[in-house]
């Protein structure tokens, strides 16, 4: 467990020292908040910023988690993984450290976005809503960073991996409830949006705003995260024996 923290610390230090990577990770969601959240002429709500903030939070988490798989891939390509695998520490610690890092990095980014949203005029979250939002984002982060890491281990080639990411991230975002609620969607989109795990996380955060605790969504995300994590562990063991 202590060793997991050291792996985590390594990745965090490396990330924070590359300032440009930190800044660029915040630009896109900030642009969405400002250029879409403040400008779109919507009819279904008076405060579109309030509506879109959960969508942007989940979108940032989705983006950073999907990219995260490349971390383990580069550790493998550059020879770090072989050095770590030759250490006596349990090998899964390497994997857990990665997934935790990707998720925590996402939570740091979403915190900045949340602060920005409040500054732009979104309604403040009460402490309970805030805590529940972080739990939802954490589960969502574990789900998608496990998925992207599995994908990276499976494909073993950065170009293919980046291509798959580009292919899935946009459709996942636009077929979710990030930009509009179910009742204004065309019927065909509504069906897809109901199946999209990205909607589960966004809906859950919105429900918190109406004082409903979204147990079903929480449970769904938790179960999905555990299943994908188990698949990822299995894949990792296969690759590293």
């Amino acid at each position: 467990m202590k060793r997991l923290v050291y792996y985590l610390q390594r990745d965090l230090t490396r990330w924070l020292r590359r300032k440009i990577a930190v800044i660029s990770a915040l630009i896109t969601p900030a642009a969405w908040l400002i250029f879409v959240g403040l400008t779109l002429p919507t009819t279904f709500t008076d405060n579109y910023l309030d509506f879109i903030t959960p969508g942007i939070l989940v979108m940032s988490m989705l983006g950073t988690s999907l990219q995260g798989g490349s971390l383990l891939m580069f550790d493998k390509i550059l020879g770090f993984l072989n050095k770590f695998l030759a250490l006596p520490a349990p090998r899964e610690t390497i994997l857990f450290g990665k997934i935790l890092f990707i998720t925590i990095r996402g939570l740091i980014q979403t915190t900045v976005i949340l602060i920005l949203a409040f500054l732009l005029g979104a309604s403040m979250y009460d402490p309970l809503t805030l805590m529940a939002t972080y739990i939802i984002l954490f589960l969502f982060g574990v789900l998608f960073s496990s998925l992207s890491t599995t994908l990276a281990l499976q494909l073993d080639d950065h170009d293919s991996y980046a291509a798959v990411n580009a292919m899935v991230s946009m459709p996942l975002f636009f077929t979710s409830t990030a930009l509009m609620p179910y009742n204004v969607m065309p019927a065909w989109l509504r069906v897809i949006a109901h199946l999209n795990p990205v909607s589960y996380a966004i809906d859950a955060i919105r429900m918190l705003g109406t004082d409903i605790i979204p147990w079903a969504n929480l449970l769904g995300l938790a179960v999905a995260a555990v299943i994908v994590l188990l698949i990822c562990i299995r894949r990792f063991r296969r690759v590293t024996v």
């Binding site: 060793r3 230090t13 072989n82 030759a86």
Partner: protein, 318 residues
């Protein structure tokens, strides 16, 4: 039981036999595994360091089995792969401290200072590694590898990509570690470096271990001088002179003779007599390269194929 023991260690990649029934015994020494690229050196090392599972055979490190007691084995060894894998956006000290923590070393701070001092990196310890030279990065990797006082150190091509001074320096460090009682297993294709630094070497070709001995004994197998002749024209392998034909690499024929300089005139005459044009002749004492060439060629005579081009590439890499 010796520090490193292998018994018919074998690994297949699909149907290609990458490592073919290698049996080795390595004690407190610098042992060099020599061979061209793709001969199975790295695969062998990965099996010994528990990174790959052997398909057949066994191996033990300090009496512990590499598959059944992998954790015990990993506690006793350090592995430095050939890619220089150090975090360039961390300082030297942070890089070593990471490994000290991951190994669960006590007194991390003191231990890290000691290792950085040993590898002569104390002055630059708090600089980011991206400002380090290649030689310094390699020494930093040694500092990482030594932080838990391993019994066995595995180094895959430790001097690859380094300049002459840095190479010499790395070998000096390796020799000093051996003198302190560590066992060092090195993969390399630099025959001259192995000749100077290794106590014993094993020569591996297409997955098979074809000779294990001290560099001196191996060179004694070729007591003769080596004559290299650059020619044009086709050579049929038969020569009417007091020399032995060793093989051909590109347009150079290689022969051995008891007294090389005395054999040269007859050899030149004989080659010219066969209708070939002789461009240049040189005579020198045998090196490990020649040992390798002879071992591989004599085997090749049975199998009828020798990758002279691959061998030449290997020599050029120096």
């Amino acid at each position: 039981m010796n520090v490193i023991e292998t018994d018919n260690l074998t690994k297949y990649y699909d149907r290609l036999c990458a490592v073919d029934a290698i049996s080795l015994s390595v004690g407190h020494e610098i042992f060099g595994l020599l061979g061209p690229n793709g001969s199975g050196k790295t695969t062998t090392m990965r099996m010994l360091t528990t990174l790959l599972r052997p398909d057949a055979g066994d191996a033990w490190i300090s009496g512990h089995h590499v598959v059944n007691e992998a954790r015990e084995v990993r506690n006793r060894l350090s592995y430095v792969p050939q890619e220089m894998a150090v975090d360039i956006n961390l300082t030297g000290r942070e890089n070593v401290a990471l490994f000290a923590h991951l190994y669960g070393v006590e007194n991390v701070k003191d231990r890290v200072d000691e290792m950085l001092g040993l590898m002569l990196l104390s002055q630059r310890a708090d600089d980011l590694v991206k400002t380090y030279s290649g030689g310094m990065r390699r020494r930093l990797e040694l500092a990482q590898a030594l932080v838990h006082e391993p019994e066995v150190l595995f180094l895959d091509e430790p001097t690859i990509g380094l300049d002459v001074a840095a190479r010499k320096n790395i070998w000096e460090h390796i020799t000093a570690l051996r003198d302190k009682g560590m066992t060092i297993f090195v993969n390399t294709h630099y025959m001259d470096e192995a000749d100077r630094a290794c106590d014993r070497v094993g020569i591996i070709d297409r997955g098979r271990l074809i000779a294990v001995d001290t560099p001196g004994n191996l060179k004694d197998r070729i007591q003769d001088d080596v004559i290299t002749v650059r020619v044009s024209g086709k050579f049929d392998g038969r020569i009417d002179a007091d020399v032995r034909y060793m093989g051909q690499v590109d347009d150079e024929l290689m022969f051995t003779a008891g007294k090389g300089s005395e054999a040269v005139p007859r050899l030149a005459e004989a080659l010219t007599g066969k209708g070939m044009k002789v461009h240049a002749i040189s005579v020198r004492e045998a090196t490990l390269d020649d040992v390798f060439l002879r071992l591989v060629t004599s085997k090749t005579d049975e199998e009828g194929r020798f990758d002279g081009h691959g061998f030449r590439l290997m020599l050029r890499r120096r």
